[in-house]
Symmetry: C2
Subunit: 285 residues, 2 copies
Amino acid sequence: MSTVTTPANPAAEIADAMRALEARYGTPWSAPLPAWNDTLDTLLAHRSVRNYADRPLPEGTLETLIAAAQSASTSSNLQTWSVIAIENPERRARLAELAGGQSHVRAAPLFLVWLADLSRLEAAGARSGASVEGLHYMETLVVGMIDAALAAQNAVVALESLGMSAVYIGGIRNQPEQVAAELGLPPRVLPVFGLCVGYPDETRPADVKPRLPQEVVLHREQYDAPSQAAAIAQYDEVMGGFQTAQGLSAAGWTVRSLARWRSRESLHGRDRLRDALSALGFELR
Amino acid sequence: MSTVTTPANPAAEIADAMRALEARYGTPWSAPLPAWNDTLDTLLAHRSVRNYADRPLPEGTLETLIAAAQSASTSSNLQTWSVIAIENPERRARLAELAGGQSHVRAAPLFLVWLADLSRLEAAGARSGASVEGLHYMETLVVGMIDAALAAQNAVVALESLGMSAVYIGGIRNQPEQVAAELGLPPRVLPVFGLCVGYPDETRPADVKPRLPQEVVLHREQYDAPSQAAAIAQYDEVMGGFQTAQGLSAAGWTVRSLARWRSRESLHGRDRLRDALSALGFELR
């Protein structure tokens, strides 16, 4: 079985690629292309979708997404993550409120809460009488969060390849203790983020959002700070145009992003995360 | 442009899918399949590759991977990540040592270090005189790490779809301050992990590693602790068989995993991560 596909029509593939890349940056693409395929199409076409069609997911969807998620790398094969699939409408409604009143958590047919899960191996240690001192370090929680993120992103790619859409819900960290209680989490399990899953409402399509110019995020050999300001100013123009097209005020990227970091209050309760981690049993030595 | 493909030969697609799923779990697959496609093939076929062919990457590969990475979701579009592409052999050799003497960091033609980058927006705040108090909270570093992980995983899917391979290098967190100095990182930028990229050496192929049974990581509605032990015991058998086939001792999963958490020393220096974060300018309020 080969996972590398050869395009049936290279010229059409390249035209698709250029369209996808230019939508992603809002500017012309100038680098050469090594090749193109359906998977790159899926990746480049990503958009966060908050409007879902009233259409159930096919049988076996959840299991297929989790198989994709489990295929992602995991540090030392420790698999320090879990996921809870929530379909019950009342529970989704409660989680929507806990995440800051996000109605799409209620509206999507499937809501996944991705967990950094140190409890599973801790319990295995308890069964066999093994010391699990390493569990109590900051590093171990970092591993769990990264494991969860890699797994979730594979699930997102999988579901988008199947014509479904998703949006990550960072608001699940607004009130982690209450989310943990709702989901019956044991100690040392952190809800890292949520994910709404469903078919997109094609009558209210989402657009591809342009990202920072590649030269801003990609550095060669060493970190390059000085060249970022000019490219960010250019991106503020691109985002201003995108915001105008969306019917928003053309504030650009810098102003809007800085508003998120303005103060402790602008973190919407997530300034409490360190206390919440302590309450959930993470020592973070 | 549609990113949903219809299989040319559904029976062959389903046979491919079953082979891929059974390799991923080392057990028969029993759930229904909603559909299958090349992207799911790519995701399921993932393996971490440490043996690379002596073959350069095509022109434009790096830019294509970064376009895929930037297409991943990012919290509030803040894009709190960067990546450094390292091709210089001497620098790769130094980073290989800093990561615990991992020779594949030297051997792969491209090494990417993924960064949680709070410095970019901080600098933008300094240019415009804006307060960036939110930067100093634990939550903000968590956002940066998740952003970096989602981006990196998209790059991994992209490169695997192009016939290349990769392995994540968590060892980049063994000595974060030294890595930061090597890469010229400003304060409040954390090297989250590395990634070796290259064509696999087909004479030394890597195998798909079986993962925990799906029922262990996937919970319905609420966390289910009691049912995990029996399924983990079954997985210990599967992993024992896999280890034997690899010429390793058949220790299973539980024993090997617990060895990683046995003590502070078993974290290989990463027990220092909290101190390192402080040295790198993260207050973690």
